[in-house]
């Protein structure tokens, strides 16, 4: 990391706070430790950007193993590889595929939709773009006509996001006959969006990341089938220009098979991404990478203000080595050490100091028990 910035924590030789429990959305470019996984993710994104063939990928992670951070990282990488990333957290309540669709449509503001439309028109001409959309989904064709006429009313976005409460009479004023209500409507709308992204010329494909997909394990069989059918139909309708990553978080990776229908499972890429617990060595590398990516001075000891021994002591306390558990503990210790080092009470974090602080925060274990069952 650059040394040009003013460090926020000069006494710790850190530019910024290194231990974050919640992943930060946006420009997630920091990857710590787990080199093999990093190369697998990078290779996948590179490959997705090299051809337009549609695909389905499965990602499994142990609880707190960094699944969401990995998807945010994929999101950042995707932009460099001509992929249009759409990250959707699986809704907590799902009754049909339309609930998932809303998350997808939220990524397409009127501005984005309009930009994609005009880009497509540059390549294919207005008439062809509108006609080809209208043939498959007349209401979406009407939407594009309104955009062409510069009549970009917010009603368009409400219709696109399948907002309940938008009446037919209202929609008729902009030439739309029906609201998006069924899973079929939602899939047809996704197909149009995928084609707009691909025909814009700026992107090879739309990369749809469905995070927390394990939440479908709370759904009755009928809704699970509807969701699976939605995914299958989307891929069938888009043999090109769509890649989907489904991410799951639960105890056993092979349980994924119980949540997907045979039809969807058969479409999945055989090389799935796994984020298991870390080994001790991998956890040390993870901590060192995190600290070095926030380091303000290159000459500093890589683990400062920790030592190899104090890191070991903290990792011993974590038990199950997942990024979340590790960062929680390092966060607690560093928060205290921050003041103590600045005040000259200690020079660095010793194992005894770390253990003492962790002993004073027994709630950590309790919370994790609740989180991980």
């Amino acid at each position: 990391m650059s040394t040009l910035h003013t460090p926020r924590y000069p006494h710790l030789a850190l530019l910024d706070w290194p231990f974050r429990i919640l992943p930060v959305r946006g420009n997630t470019t920091v990857w710590a430790g787990r080199r093999e996984l990093e190369s697998q993710v990078k290779r996948l994104i590179r490959q997705l950007g090299r051809n337009s063939v549609s695909s389905l990928h499965l990602m499994w992670a142990d609880f707190g193993a960094g699944k969401t951070h990995t998807l945010y990282y994929v999101e950042s990488l995707a932009k460099e590889h001509s992929l249009f990333p759409v990250y959707v957290e699986w809704p907590k309540k799902t009754t049909t595929f339309v609930d998932v669709y809303r998350g997808i449509a939220n990524h397409f503001s009127l501005r984005v939709l309009s930009q994609l439309f005009w880009k497509c028109c540059e390549h294919k001409g207005v008439d062809e773009v509108i006609d080809s959309v209208s043939r498959n989904f007349p209401d979406f064709g009407a939407v594009l006509e309104r955009i062409y006429e510069n009549n970009e009313t917010p009603l368009i976005h409400e219709w696109l996001r399948a907002q309940p409460g938008v009446g037919r009479r209202e929609l008729a004023t902009i030439g739309i006959r029906n609201p998006i209500k069924t899973s079929d409507d939602a899939v047809r709308s996704v197909v149009v969006l995928v084609n707009l992204v691909a025909d814009s010329g700026d992107y090879v494909k739309l990369l749809l990341m469905l995070d927390e997909f394990q939440r479908i394990d709370h759904l009755p069989p009928r809704i699970r089938r509807d969701v699976n059918t939605g995914i299958r139909t989307m891929l069938n309708a888009c043999p090109d220009s769509l890649s989907i990553i489904l991410s799951f978080s639960f105890g056993r990776p092979d349980n994924i098979g119980f949540l997907l229908t045979d039809e969807v499972r058969s479409l999945a890429d055989p090389e799935s991404i796994h984020l298991p617990q870390m080994t001790k060595a991998a956890a040390m590398e993870f901590v060192e990478d995190l600290l070095s990516s926030h380091r303000s001075s290159e000459s500093m000891e890589p683990l400062f203000p920790f030592t190899a021994e104090s890191c070991q002591a903290i990792l011993d306390n974590a038990g199950k080595l997942t990024p979340r558990r590790i960062m929680k503990r390092f966060n607690v210790v560093l928060r205290r050490a921050d003041e103590d080092i600045e005040g000259g009470v200690i020079a660095h974090v010793t194992p005894e100091y770390a253990v003492q602080i962790l002993r004073e925060v027994p709630a950590l274990e309790e919370e994790e028990g609740k989180e991980e069952g």
Partner: protein, 145 residues
């Protein structure tokens, strides 16, 4: 203490009662079901003279087997849910159990999920998890999820 249970009717009825007790509170099972070594003299079932269990040792052996099988299946369901780490819909639990033991019926899994109330908790609709998750507070990936 007197048992409020009676084993004086049919064998089917007796089996039903024994399994119900096993699933509710195994410590209340008559001693003949809990152990191979028992003495009816100390037993305090309601009608000792008409007790089917006292008259048929083979039937008692069979009941002991049924109870132990019931416990074994309960433990298997527990294991499946614990490994998954979050509550899930009951048909998924049944599929996971049947993937390991195909002879177990889906209905049997459903019955045990709803009967062993000390082990399993119905979270929402047909969603079941471990009862201990409730005592630990809302499960992050379950109810609060």
């Amino acid at each position: 203490m007197n048992y409020q249970f009676e084993f004086s009717y049919s064998v089917t009825h007796a089996e039903h009662i024994v399994l119900s007790i096993a699933r509710t509170d195994a410590s209340l099972l008559p001693e003949c079901i809990r152990s191979r070594h028992y003495d009816c003299i100390d037993c305090q079932v309601m009608n000792h003279d008409s007790c089917i269990l006292a008259r048929d040792e083979d039937f008692v052996s069979y009941l002991r087997y049924r109870v132990s099988e019931d416990f074994r299946l309960r433990d298997l369901i527990r294991e499946v849910i614990k490994e998954h780490g979050r509550p899930m819909y009951r048909d998924i639990i049944a599929s996971m159990v049947r993937a390991r033991h195909p002879q177990v019926s889906e209905q049997m899994v459903y019955t045990l999920l709803s009967s062993y109330k000390a082990d399993f908790k119905k979270f929402d609709g047909g969603v079941y998890g471990l009862a201990e998750w409730i005592s630990q507070g809302a499960h992050s990936s379950g109810l609060s999820d």
